[in-house]
């Protein structure tokens, strides 16, 4: 009876561990996969580890995560310990008030803490901006920076803020257990307060400090939500990088990172546990007890040489700390940088290396998910981009809100190569702010092996026969725009009834379970893997998908489609104007345009590149390009005539789009 209960309980524990570890084991196994799938095994390989080590984004974010976690742990352990001592000697009522406030960040959902800190920082920056402008105006002894943005500093502050409560929570019980008279006794016996603290109090509360520090470190390392809201755009912890990667085409580089992380932690845990077991064994048989290392160390440290060593270590640590901080600040100041924000899979990454090698300017390349998310980032003060690549209608909105800076076209001679068709378009009629980057169409991508018959209408996206096989595009303008086109309305309609009618199409399809999900760049993975049959997406991206799944087809529906231009612009007050213009000029060049056309599948507005591309393709691949594919990439004028460009809509229509879009998700 006893025995069987024991077996039963062990089976349950084993099942729990199986549940916890099976996904981790799979992650690890597929990090050695030859192919790029996380579900199909293609043989053993280590190349994902190599490519991970070459991935600057990953390496930098690992470094950032460690730096922030270590610094935050160090500072919050120190501050938390003294705060706990202080709290503990307060009268009870005041202590309880402070402890209640102290518990707020622990009780609150992370997202509330993150959001409130984000709003606080942004409000502070506004206040600071006014203050600095005033001070710089009235005196000239020193210049204060007027423009602060979210970044490393705010990230660190946020981490310290959510770590301190955990330290206090762990130190406080130890303080409560300690006999209050001990400190008094030590001081009566001639110790100074400092000596009493080091020799009496610290040893008593040390276990609490250590476990507090450990928990703080764990919390910092594992945190995603608070970092996501407080780090801004140019600082990225590993968790944020991973989140960004999961939204795009996922490569097993992620698996390689997690394997390395897992192994590191595993080794650390084994070392700690073996140490503890040894100590326990020693405690159990004191006869074989050698003087423990700790004792010997302590004795050594109390000698004169020991004290010098102690000072030396402290000084070295301080120097390291100062060096790291100054390195970080120096790096951001001395090397010329340009911060670029674009879309996922939207550049030939070799171009970044080439530009850096040619100009010595460091490119901080980031991606946003859609025009709407980029706009949110800009508005919430989280972004310190110089160059952005929004689409037509968003550019018009940004210009209207005074968020873009006029370009000096003398610094961008390659603008002359842009085909006149793509200049002075409706979003920037006098062409003062933009240099076009790509142009393409939004159409329907489908997998004929999974559905009956060819797709010719937007209606296929809402057809009940395709239930569960359709991916809806995850941004309001495109999704509602498609339904408007299906109904035969203009995509730029301001008629509320028409927009609501389009919404009803989406809503009904959604209620009938037609949509499998809402995706942006996850569409690559899902369509290529045959996990969905129909999606609407951009022609350029269809061409990249085709390389991984030959079944896929692209069609511009009979009702017409949307054609768009994405153009490079510089944000108002961008700190790196000169570098930004150099980047724009480089990207607009014929060479870069050709490389980009080939890599991302989007047509360039550069007239030379458009002309030379078929020859370029033939030279590269040794065969002429399929004319059908060329027509998908470079939409012929007669097809373009059936397409409509998005225009900026008045604020009340935008608000309606936002409201309906959220409502659709409910």
């Amino acid at each position: 009876m006893k025995q069987s209960r024991r077996t039963g309980s062990r089976i349950l524990i084993a099942l729990v561990f199986l549940f916890l570890y099976a996904p981790i084991a799979l992650l690890i196994i597929f990090s050695f996969n030859e192919g790029d799938s996380s579900a199909v095994w293609r043989g053993f390989s280590l190349h994902w580890y190599q490519s991970m080590l070459r991935n600057r984004l990953i390496i930098e974010s690992v470094y950032m995560t460690l730096l922030v976690s270590l610094l935050a742990t160090l500072i919050s352990t120190f501050a938390g310990t003294f705060a706990a001592i202080g709290l503990y000697s307060l009268p009870r009522r005041r202590r309880d008030v402070l402890l209640t406030v102290n518990n707020i960040p622990m009780m609150n959902a992370d997202i509330v803490t993150g959001v409130s800190l984000c709003l606080f920082f942004v409000a502070f920056f506004q206040f600071w901006g006014g203050f600095a402008r005033w001070l710089n105006g009235v005196q000239s002894a020193f210049v204060l920076p007027e423009r602060l943005t979210l970044g490393f500093g705010t990230l660190l502050l946020a981490h310290i803020a959510f770590n301190i409560p955990y330290v206090i929570l762990n130190v406080a019980p130890k303080l409560r257990q300690m006999d209050r008279n001990l400190m008094d006794a030590a001081q009566d016996l001639g110790c100074t307060w400092m000596q009493a603290f080091w020799k009496v109090m610290l040893p008593e509360i040390k276990p609490g400090i250590i476990s507090g520090a450990l928990i703080a470190f764990t919390m910092s390392i594992d945190d995603f939500v608070i970092s996501y809201f407080t780090a801004g755009s140019s600082t990225s912890t590993l968790a944020m990088t991973i989140y960004g990667m999961t939204k795009r085409r996922v490569t097993p580089e992620i698996n390689a990172v997690s394997t390395l992380l897992f192994l590191t932690v595993l080794i650390l845990l084994v070392i700690v546990n073996v140490g503890e077991i040894r100590q326990e064994r020693r405690r159990r048989n004191p006869s074989v007890r050698k003087e423990p290392f700790g004792e010997r160390l302590r004795r050594f440290l109390s000698t004169r040489t020991g004290r010098y060593v102690q000072w030396g270590i402290t000084a070295a640590a301080a120097i390291c700390f100062v060096a790291t901080v100054s390195f970080l600040t120096a790096e951001t100041q001395s090397i010329p940088v340009v911060n670029v924000c674009s879309w996922g899979e939207y550049i030939d990454t070799d171009l970044i290396d080439r530009f850096e090698a040619e100009t010595g300017i460091r490119v901080n390349y980031q991606t946003a998910e859609s025009n709407e998310t980029m706009y949110s980032l800009l508005k919430s003060g989280g972004a310190d981009y110089d160059v952005i690549v929004p689409s037509d209608y968003m550019i018009a909105q940004l210009i209207e809100e005074g968020m873009l800076s006029e370009l000096n076209y003398d610094n961008i001679p390659n603008f002359q190569l842009i085909d006149p068709r793509f200049r002075n378009l409706s979003y920037d009629p006098e062409n003062k702010y933009t240099v076009p980057y790509t142009w393409s169409t939004l159409g329907v991508i489908y997998n004929p092996t999974m559905i009956d018959g060819p797709v010719t209408s937007w209606g296929a996206l809402y057809d009940e026969r395709n239930a569960g096989k359709v991916l809806l595009i995850n941004n309001s303008r495109d999704a509602i725009g498609e339904a408007l086109m299906y109904l035969g309305y203009s995509v730029n309609t301001t008629d509320e009834n028409e927009i609501r009618a389009a919404y009803r199409i989406l809503d009904e399809a959604s209620k009938r379970g037609v949509f499998q999900g809402k995706v942006m760049d996850e569409v690559f993975q899902t369509m290529e893997g045959g996990n969905a049959a129909i999606a609407s997406y951009y022609a350029g991206d269809y061409l990249s998908m085709l390389e991984n799944n030959e079944d896929l087809r692209y069609v511009i529906p009979d009702e017409g489609a949307n054609w768009f231009v994405d153009a490079m612009c510089v944000l108002k007050d961008a700190p790196h104007m000169r570098e930004a213009e150099a980047w724009i000029n480089f990207i607009a060049s014929t060479d870069a345009s050709l490389a980009n056309m080939d890599y991302i599948g989007y047509a360039s507005p550069n007239s030379e590149a458009l002309e030379q591309y078929p020859a370029y393709y033939e030279e590269l691949y040794g065969e002429p390009m399929d004319p059908e594919l060329y027509d998908i990439m470079v939409t012929p004028p007669e097809v373009l005539e059936r397409c409509e460009m998005y225009e900026n809509t008045p604020p009340n229509v935008r608000a309606l789009y936002n409201r309906l879009w959220i409502q659709l998700g409910i």
Partner: protein
């Protein structure tokens, strides 16, 4: 002397005021204003249309918490009954995944649950689909598992189960064995000992476990985004949408955050009222 020490609390009080109290006040200001900084209650009036998101969030989080409790309590209870060596290893194994990023752990479920994912491949191999189509006559090639409420709940259970096991385990471990002996001596059988002694005494652990699973579950946006595929909008997604997502409106976002905060605090206060609020049982 006492007075001097209490000075140490002053900087922390200032810090708390700056980085805890003021941010929440600013959030409140946002919630009660419009973008033209005029005072308004509109943000709260509009909240009715999001009722279903509130319901879904609280329902899924409650289900996940319940499942965590049903798995976590027995696991913690049995673990505490094992030898010290076993316990040490088991404890380390439960903590270990927490050091790996939770997004990675969640992401690995995507590969398992996809239509062409590992689980569906497995079902295919063992002939489950041909078996099923033999019965129902309908042809099925895969179960839609990803992008369903079930997947989101699974993600929550998977990520937060350790937070349930650890506090319960540490409370059970500290139970006075003499109490159990006394109960047995007084004639209680093992079921009675469990229900009338162990369970009530381990309640503080259960309460902190429930808090630590429920609060992050109800406010998650990454899990619902990855495993729900945008079809299972939760409160976290709704808030994220208003700040960094596709529908910029921080005023509405702040209002939703406020309401969520109040409801969560009320839930927790209510729960702690039933089990006497023992905050020390939290964490390890």
């Amino acid at each position: 002397m006492k007075r001097k020490l209490s000075l140490l609390a002053a900087p922390y009080a200032v810090w708390l005021f700056l980085l805890v109290v003021i941010p929440i006040l600013i959030m409140a200001v946002y919630a009660f204003t419009t973008s033209d900084s005029a005072a308004t209650l509109e943000n709260f009036m509009d909240m009715g249309i999001y009722a279903s998101v509130f319901v879904r969030s609280f329902r899924l989080a409650a289900i996940a918490t319940l499942i965590c409790l049903l798995i976590g309590y027995p696991a913690a209870y049995f673990m505490a009954g094992e030898g010290p060596g076993f316990q040490r290893v088991a404890l380390a194994l439960i903590m270990l995944p927490m050091w790996m990023n939770f997004l990675l752990r969640t992401y690995s479920w995507m590969a398992i649950l996809e239509n062409n994912g590992l689980l569906n491949q497995l079902f295919q191999k063992i002939g489950l689909f041909s078996f099923l189509s033999g019965i129902t006559g309908e042809e099925a090639q895969a179960f839609q598992m990803l992008r369903t409420p079930g997947a989101v709940t699974l993600g929550m259970v998977y990520n937060y189960l350790p937070f349930m096991i650890l506090p319960i385990y540490s409370v059970i471990l500290k139970l006075d064995s003499q109490l159990l002996e006394a109960a047995r001596d007084l004639g209680a059988n093992s079921v009675q000992v469990f229900w009338r002694v162990i369970l009530p005494l381990s309640l503080p652990g259960v309460l902190s476990g429930v808090t630590m699973v429920f609060v992050p579950s109800v406010s998650t946006f990454a899990i619902s985004r990855l495993l729900g595929g945008g079809t299972q909008m939760m409160l976290g997604d709704l808030i994220e949408q208003q700040f960094l997502g596709g529908a910029y409106n921080p005023h509405l976002g702040a209002a939703i955050s406020m309401v969520m905060m109040v409801i969560v605090v009320l839930c927790m206060a209510l729960m702690n009222h039933f089990g006497e609020g023992e905050e020390q049982a939290v964490m390890l």
